[in-house]
């Protein structure tokens, strides 16, 4: 062992010299994408990846940033915490400056510490309030927190709809639990009557047993804080079982696949989210959506992809402004941004990385699967 040790250190030293040399020699700036490219939320993940690549191509066409080309390194975290931890290590080893993603709060949280230790910036659409609890200087949220949505939901339920018997359902993910808890808290603050708080197992497909139990309580509304893959089935099975209550979905139900899964039953669903991509009032949004459509012959999966794109745009903007690749300097610059014109509205970050703002709306799904704004 003793004889082996100097050899080992020597070879390690050679390795690290080689690695640092190769990093210094490259004339590119690497940006990571950590998103669920496959698995349950593949639809969202691929859209994030597409959006990032579109913006990067546009930058590279103009000569890149700081005179260097930008290279995108994508890692598929499948929306799970285990894969997210692997992705974080991989992207750090690749030498990325910043990581866009992930889509789910759970996968984002699992990767946070690794990026923070390596000094890699991370910006994610994860809405779980716990994401900013660590106060990592590397983390910036490009969406709005669950607590903002929860306050809006409570106001809508109590002041708008005047629901008397409320059922709250969530899955076990960090995002969904967090949103449900925040909503319950906000509802209780308004003295609302919650008759049932339950959980479903994401991906288990069969929710009839839970729904049958709910049916006996004759609720006015079933609120689901999970993702579209379960939400669509929940809605379809609710209608099948003849439960008359309104179905209100949290932001992650806002996805074209929700409509496909719920089928005919989608009609009448109430969805709470920030504005959908097609009704964003900003010119920059219209240009982006047209470019996206031209390049990928599809529309972005949801507003979440656009929020991630805004995260990337803010970082690249600050890089150009500060003329620096140093992540400390960029983080400093991000904090100083004030109403940076984003696709999803003005971008301003709080000291702890939280994006300031909100602007939630409720949409009712029409028979032709289009949206009608019913409350804002």
């Amino acid at each position: 062992m003793k004889r082996l040790f100097p050899k080992l250190t020597a070879s390690l030293a050679v390795c690290s010299v080689l690695v640092s040399a190769s990093v210094a020699a490259t004339n590119v700036i690497k940006i990571g994408v950590q998103a669920p490219i496959t698995g349950q939320y593949a639809n969202e993940g691929q859209s994030i990846d597409n959006g990032v690549k579109l913006i990067v191509d546009q930058y590279n066409a103009k000569g890149g940033v700081l005179g260097k080309k930008i290279e995108v390194v994508t890692c598929d975290d499948q929306g799970t915490a285990q894969q997210a931890a692997i992705c974080a290590k991989k992207l750090v080893n690749e030498g990325v400056k910043a990581v866009i993603g992930s889509y789910t709060s759970g996968a984002t949280e699992a990767a946070q510490t690794t990026y923070n230790r390596a000094g890699v910036l991370q910006t994610s659409d994860g809405t779980s309030d716990s994401l900013i609890a660590h106060k990592y200087w590397t983390f910036f949220r490009n969406s709005f927190p669950n607590s903002a949505e929860a306050d809006y939901t409570a106001k809508y339920f109590v002041d708008g709809k005047q629901y008397k018997k409320i059922v709250i359902l969530s899955d076990y993910s960090s995002y969904s639990t967090d949103l449900a808890d925040a909503t319950i808290k906000a509802l209780k603050a308004k003295n609302a009557n919650i008759i049932y708080e339950g959980k479903i197992k994401s991906g288990s497909q069969n929710f009839t047993a839970t729904l049958t139990k709910i049916k006996s309580m004759d609720p006015d509304v079933i609120y689901f804080s999970g993702y579209y893959t379960d939400g669509g089935l929940l809605r379809a099975q609710q209608i099948q079982l003849g439960i008359k209550a309104d179905f209100v979905g949290g932001d992650s139900n806002d996805n074209p696949d929700y409509m496909k899964l719920a089928g005919e039953s989608a009609k009448g669903t109430l969805l709470i989210n920030v504005p959908t991509p097609d009704i964003l009032p900003y010119d920059i949004a219209k240009t982006f959506l047209t470019d996206y459509k031209t390049k990928f012959n599809a529309t972005p999966a949801s507003i979440w992809s656009l929020m991630n794109v805004d995260g990337l745009r803010a970082i690249l903007h600050v890089m150009e402004q500060t003329k620096s690749e140093d992540t400390k300097v960029i983080a400093e610059g991000l904090h100083q941004l004030k109403d940076f014109p984003g696709i999803t509205g003005p971008v301003t970050f709080r000291e702890d990385g939280e994006r300031i703002g909100g602007g939630y709306m409720t949409y009712e799904v029409q028979a032709d699967k289009s949206y009608k704004i019913v409350y804002q």
Partner: protein, 300 residues
């Protein structure tokens, strides 16, 4: 009371699906003493094949009895063919090898099928059209039964009863039972064991195919890795009923479905799976051969 009855309907529906899948496990085990771990993935494969057949031939729009029968028959045929292929490639070369080799081969074959499904149809969730079966709903005394549920309960009952009579009343059925009791003796009596095993795989895979299509039309969203969940539950059902025993697999499947529905409905979602395995352990401790398992116990 009507909640209880509704839970019964929910439980029996999922239970018949488990039972159909469990039959595939139990028949292969009965004859070959092999847990065919690839069976669950075959079920997932059949859901994808069924969706493609439906989309290719009928453009996902026609709902007629004829169309549905064509889709079911064609998918069952394709899946049965893959099942036979599976036996040829993964199990036949290992028939005289130690049992562990065959089990490892089964796990490997399952991964091959699962990843092939992912490569062919992509990793994203695919969605069955909502008009595969008519959206008719009956409400009887507060209990809701959908057309799809009636189809699942009806077709699986017919298949299970049919299989029972096939095994007990026909010549081939007698041969299957003989092979299950003693392969060598059966061979000496002039039974072509290779052919019997092929028949077992055809029947098991075809039943799995029917279950896969029902899962797709009932739950709508199908993923390439869903086979594991249904496979595991059906495997538990087969053990509960007594593995190797055909009525046992049916009973085990129905009981497991009911048990799951009741636990989810009356206790909580997060405990449903835990209780499933607690029940499995309890059965293995107090009745190691399963509920109806005494007929095969003599051999193990």
């Amino acid at each position: 009371m009507d909640i209880f009855l509704q839970q019964m309907v929910n439980g029996l529906t999922i239970g018949s699906l488990y039972a159909l899948v469990a039959l595939g496990y139990t028949m292969v085990y009965g004859v070959m003493r092999l847990i065919n771990f690839a069976h669950g993935d075959l079920v997932a494969f059949s859901a994808f094949i069924g969706l493609s057949v439906y989309a290719q031939i009928f453009g996902e729009s026609v709902t007629s009895l004829g169309a549905i029968i064509v889709v079911f028959a064609l998918s069952a045929l394709i899946v049965a063919f893959v099942g036979v292929l599976l036996e040829r490639l993964a199990y036949r070369p290992l028939r005289t090898a130690p049992r562990l080799s065959a089990v490892v081969s089964a796990l490997g074959a399952g991964l091959v099928i699962q990843n092939s499904v992912m490569l062919i149809w992509g990793p994203n969730m695919k969605i069955f059209p909502s008009n595969f079966f008519p959206a008719t709903i009956w409400e009887i005394g507060g209990i809701v039964i959908t057309f799809t549920q009636v189809m699942i309960l009806g077709v699986s009952s017919v298949l299970m009863v049919g299989l029972y009579f096939f095994i007990h009343q026909t010549k081939i059925g007698t041969a299957i039972r003989a092979v299950a009791i003693d392969q060598d003796a059966a061979k000496l009596m002039g039974i072509n064991v290779g052919r019997i095993i092929m028949i077992i795989f055809i029947i098991g895979s075809a039943l799995g195919a029917v279950a896969g299509l029902f899962i797709g039309s009932y739950y709508r969203g199908i993923t390439f890795d869903m086979g594991w969940m249904y496979g595991l539950n059906a495997f538990v059902a087969a053990i509960m009923g007594g593995i190797g025993n055909i009525p046992g697999a049916m009973l085990g499947g129905l009981l497991l479905g009911l048990f799951n529905a009741m636990i989810t409905g009356y206790i909580s979602t997060q405990w449903a799976e835990t209780f499933t395995f607690v029940l499995l352990i309890a059965i293995l401790v107090f009745r190691p051969t399963g509920i109806l398992g005494e007929t095969v116990a003599e051999k193990v």
